[in-house]
């Protein structure tokens, strides 16, 4: 409603300005002044638009500064919750510094030149077609800078994607289907039982299509919440049952698609428990803000006689980040990072695959 109102006002203002221009022109005609209706910019247009160019430069700078202040607490640049995440963040910050530097200078030159060299009648410009030295400089400078960034980026990439057996990771399967996630732990033997969606048997509650005859499968554990012990490498094996999904864990700087017909993987080591993350200053601020917003909403909801929203407390989430159908926007799983003891206690309470099957007679 507010937008409609704002836009209506803007439309009326535009109409008013337009009509005023018309009246202004008409009076000038009546006064016998010559008006320039060639529709080609004259010196006055050049002056006005040149000033506006300078104003626009200020606008670009202002919007940059406002955005950095208002939204710049950078949830994806600070407080990475995984070991490799810190490396990605450092790379991100240095890339940002470069972008910020280049953006500030080039936008300044562009708009400042536009302002300074505004047209005046009769002016002639410098006939300046080429300068090989100059062009060489601005071909080589980006080339050199980029070589540095490419090398840095590739080293980080190799580091992040490298999966070596020395890590001795815990193996966990992330299983995607329209529109929810399941996790499958490998159990004591740390090796997942073979699986294929063709083996899904709803009558026996074999919902992930695990091969019952595989000995590795019997101690697998299927859960709807993802618990991870802190500081222990986890090797995720991603599988999808129907369409493409993407397992996105923003706080861990991790993402990998789930592709039907194949298994993809991603290794990470969470290094901050849920509790620790909740206690970082950024997160305390964020949760406070969010709860204020929710309180505001609740006031309205209570007025309408509806159920108020629960207060929010931070939890890591796994989101689906590849368009997968109607409820794509609500495909999530809670992730809890905890101490090894808490994790062991939790996992010991879960039912192993062998026992979860419904016996058929």
């Amino acid at each position: 409603m507010i937008t409609l109102f704002i836009t209506l006002i803007l439309v009326f203002i535009s109409i008013a300005i337009w009509q005023m221009i018309k009246i202004f022109d008409l009076t000038r005609v009546l006064k016998g002044e010559k008006i320039d209706d060639s529709q080609i910019a004259n010196d006055k247009d050049n002056r006005i638009n040149a000033k506006l160019m300078l104003g626009f430069l200020a606008f670009i700078y202002a919007i940059t500064i406002i955005c950095f202040i208002k939204y710049g607490h950078f949830p994806l640049i600070t407080d990475a919750a995984s070991e490799h995440g810190v490396k990605i963040d450092t790379l991100m910050i240095s890339t940002f510094a470069l972008i910020f530097f280049v953006q500030t200078i080039t936008q300044f030159l562009l708009h400042y030149f536009a302002y300074t060299y505004r047209g005046k009648k009769g002016n002639k410009t410098l006939f300046y077609t080429d300068n090989h030295k100059l062009e060489l400089i601005w071909t080589l400078t980006p080339a050199v800078v980029l070589t540095g960034f490419i090398t840095y980026g590739l080293l980080t990439w190799a580091d992040v994607m490298n999966i070596s057996d020395d890590d001795d990771p815990m193996v966990v399967e992330l299983y995607a289907q329209q529109f929810n996630w399941k996790a499958r732990y490998a159990g004591n033997d740390n090796s997942l039982g073979k699986a294929n969606v063709r083996l899904i048997d709803m009558d026996r509650a074999n919902i992930l299509g695990i091969d019952e005859s595989d000995p590795n499968a019997s101690d697998d554990i299927i859960t709807t919440e993802l618990h991870l012990p802190v500081n222990k490498p986890v090797l995720f094996k991603m599988r999808s049952q129907d369409v493409l999904h993407s397992a996105y864990m923003p706080h861990f700087r991790a993402q990998m698609n789930c592709v039907p017909g194949m298994v993809t993987q991603f290794l990470l080591t969470p290094n901050m428990t849920t509790e620790e993350m909740r206690n970082t200053p950024n997160m305390i601020d964020k949760v406070l803000t969010i709860n204020q917003i929710r309180d505001e909403k609740n006031k309205k909801l209570i007025e309408k006689g509806e159920e108020p929203l629960d207060p929010y407390d931070f939890d890591y989430v796994l989101l689906c980040n590849k368009i997968c159908g109607k409820s794509h926007y609500n495909m999530q799983m809670k992730i809890i990072v905890e101490s090894q003891e808490d994790f062991d206690e939790w996992i010991s309470k879960q039912t192993i695959f062998k026992n979860s099957l419904i016996a058929q007679n």
Partner: protein, 594 residues
């Protein structure tokens, strides 16, 4: 051969008499075809695409509030004014498809390649007017099918404009993957056929029909851009056609090119052995060059407009050509940067990171050359010039964030978030749109013989420019907060609650930015009929199109085709009284070309 010369001289007299149908509908004249592309591709599809974006933004900003606008425009898909989640995805899909393919590929290239290639090269018409006509009508048919698909029972295609299978292949996965997707695929097949015919025509015309003296290094940068665009179109579009054909086979004939091991809605499907990743490779083999098919014509137009209105030669003409060629070459070997997290081998990811970041070099050269062109210029702030300068601005802002997305390690975390949406909208969406608008304002006198109103042009420009940054700049930050794109509502994640007010601001900017286009539309249509009559060469430009007959005639020039003696950027050349020397003026004795 004497007959041939006769034909050249009095071409228009020999032409068969025109009927209403051959003049306005099945025209083979490149100027009329350019106008047809302008009205179907840019104006008609543009209105639909922009309207859809406003609906999308309204849904994102106010997900729970019922809206009369939804109820009115979406009917049964917005019961009681609340948008259906499936139709949200359909809107996102159709907005992307229409904008990328119909407005910015066919609309942009179709209008300006057709108008300018013969006129700027000094040709009577395209190499084959008949194929040109067929190309337009295939495009028209494809438009009809694509727009028609919006009205089918289960809704149009809704798997995203990239239509990744299995979502797009299985009707059980999504209602839009039924008849809607079939129509999408057929429409795109026609579109590709049209695009190929058009591109081949452009290439042949540029190679063969240049007037005397018009060597390759005397061609305006617009023509260079259209030329390279057509070449990458011919290289990459057939791959999309084969991708689409294989998808049609999977959908309708039970093959398994892209599908394997699928259990959906309680049933195992028979597909075995295919891979969705194959589709992604085929799609992006077109998809990435496609963004340059969109961007290069805009770069060409900006070069021409900036030189003309700053009354100064474009700086580094040859470097500009080289960088267009370099960008085009690199564009065909970077497609994998859309697929860093698909499960593709990480080593391949490294290769694509390397090639992708290399694009920054020719792009930087272009940006610096534009800026240097403005240095010590005599800038005439006509509306086309404003759009061209803004083009350079958004090209830089949007291009720079490509350094993050092209870097595989950083892409892990911002892949498919709003950061991507902000990046590509600025660098290819808004930039190409600015290029297109600059082109329309600049060549309007050539198209319709009249001038557009400059004051309305100024209002249109400044509001659009502010809104474009207002929409897409904050969007980067939403993406960096981890918000995924293509979410119907974010309210299921309390984590994102604090982004809601930013989303509202973005939507307000988006709606104002959309509405201001009405000013442009009014100016455009009003000026066609009542605009001030344009003079022969209103912008004092050097290129050949301004020597052609103002009245649109077959064959473009009343008498002989002018001969060309110099490059197209002799602005403010020392030794001349005027600040421009058209290409058809012979060099003075002892004068160097440049």
């Amino acid at each position: 051969m004497s007959e041939y010369i006769e034909f050249d001289k009095d071409h228009h007299e020999h032409h068969p008499k025109e009927t209403f149908i051959t003049k306005w509908i099945f025209s083979q004249d490149h100027k009329m075809i350019a106008k047809q592309y302008l009205f179907t591709g840019v104006i008609f599809m543009g209105i639909i695409g922009i309207l859809m974006s406003s609906l999308i933004r309204m849904q994102i900003a106010w997900p729970e509030e019922p809206s009369i606008i939804f109820e009115f425009l979406l009917g049964k898909w917005a019961p009681e004014g609340v948008m259906d989640a499936d139709i949200y995805l359909a809107l996102v899909t159709m907005h992307g498809t229409i904008m990328v393919f119909f407005v910015l590929t066919a609309g942009l290239s179709g209008t300006f390649s057709n108008l300018l290639i013969p006129l700027q090269l000094g040709a009577r018409d395209m190499a084959t007017g008949f194929l040109n006509m067929i190309a337009y009508w295939l495009f028209f048919l494809s438009t009809v099918l694509m727009v028609g698909s919006i009205f089918v029972e289960a809704g149009p295609a809704a798997a995203g404009w990239t239509i990744y299978p299995p979502l797009s292949a299985l009707e059980v996965a999504q209602p839009g993957s039924g008849l809607g997707m079939t129509l999408w695929l057929v429409s795109m097949a026609l579109f590709i056929a049209s695009s190929l015919l058009g591109s081949l025509n452009y290439i042949v015309t540029i190679i063969n029909l240049r007037t005397k003296g018009m060597s390759l290094t005397r061609m305006p940068l617009t023509i260079w851009a259209f030329f390279i665009t057509a070449i990458i179109g011919v290289i990459s579009f057939p791959v999309l056609l084969s991708a689409a054909l294989l998808l049609i086979m999977d959908r309708s004939f039970g093959t398994s090119f892209y599908l394997s091991d699928i259990f959906i809605q309680g049933e195992v499907l028979h597909y075995q052995g295919g891979s969705p990743i194959l589709f992604e490779h085929l799609f992006w083999f077109l998809g990435h060059p496609e963004v340059y098919i969109v961007l290069l014509p805009a770069l060409g137009i900006a070069s021409e407009v900036i030189a003309t209105h700053s009354r100064k030669p474009i700086f580094g003409y040859k470097a500009m050509i080289m960088s267009i060629i370099a960008i085009a070459f690199l564009s065909t070997i970077v497609w994998g940067h859309h697929m860093f997290v698909t499960g593709m081998n990480p080593f391949l990811g490294s290769v694509f990171t390397f090639t992708t970041l290399l694009i920054a070099i020719p792009s930087a050269v272009k940006a610096f050359n534009y800026i240097t062109t403005l240095w010590k210029a005599n800038i005439q702030f006509n509306p086309p010039m404003l759009f061209a300068i803004a083009f350079v601005s958004t090209f830089i802002t949007g291009g720079l964030t490509g350094l993050i997305l092209g870097d595989s390690a950083l892409d892990i975390n911002v892949h498919d978030t709003y950061f991507v949406v902000a990046h590509f909208h600025l660098v290819m969406g808004i930039s190409a749109l600015y290029g297109m608008l600059a082109g329309i304002y600049h060549w309007f006198p050539k198209l319709f013989g009249r001038m557009m109103n400059k004051n309305l042009g100024y209002i249109h420009f400044w509001v659009t420019a502010v809104c474009a940054y207002g929409v897409f700049f904050p969007m980067h930050f939403i993406g960096m907060a981890g918000l995924p794109r293509r979410y119907y509502t974010n309210s299921n994640f309390p984590l994102f609650d604090d982004l809601a007010d930013t989303n509202t601001i973005i939507t307000v900017f988006a709606i104002i930015g959309s509405l201001i286009q009405i000013v442009f539309l009014y100016n455009f249509i009003h000026s066609i009929f009542y605009g001030k009559k344009a003079s022969q060469n209103p912008w004092n430009s050097t290129t050949l199109e301004w020597t052609a007959s103002m009245k649109h005639i077959h064959g473009n020039w009343q008498g002989k085709i002018p001969e060309v003696y110099r490059w197209p950027y002799d602005y403010s050349k020392p030794g001349y009284k005027e600040d421009f020397v058209p290409q058809h003026i012979p060099l003075k004795k002892g004068e160097e070309e440049y």
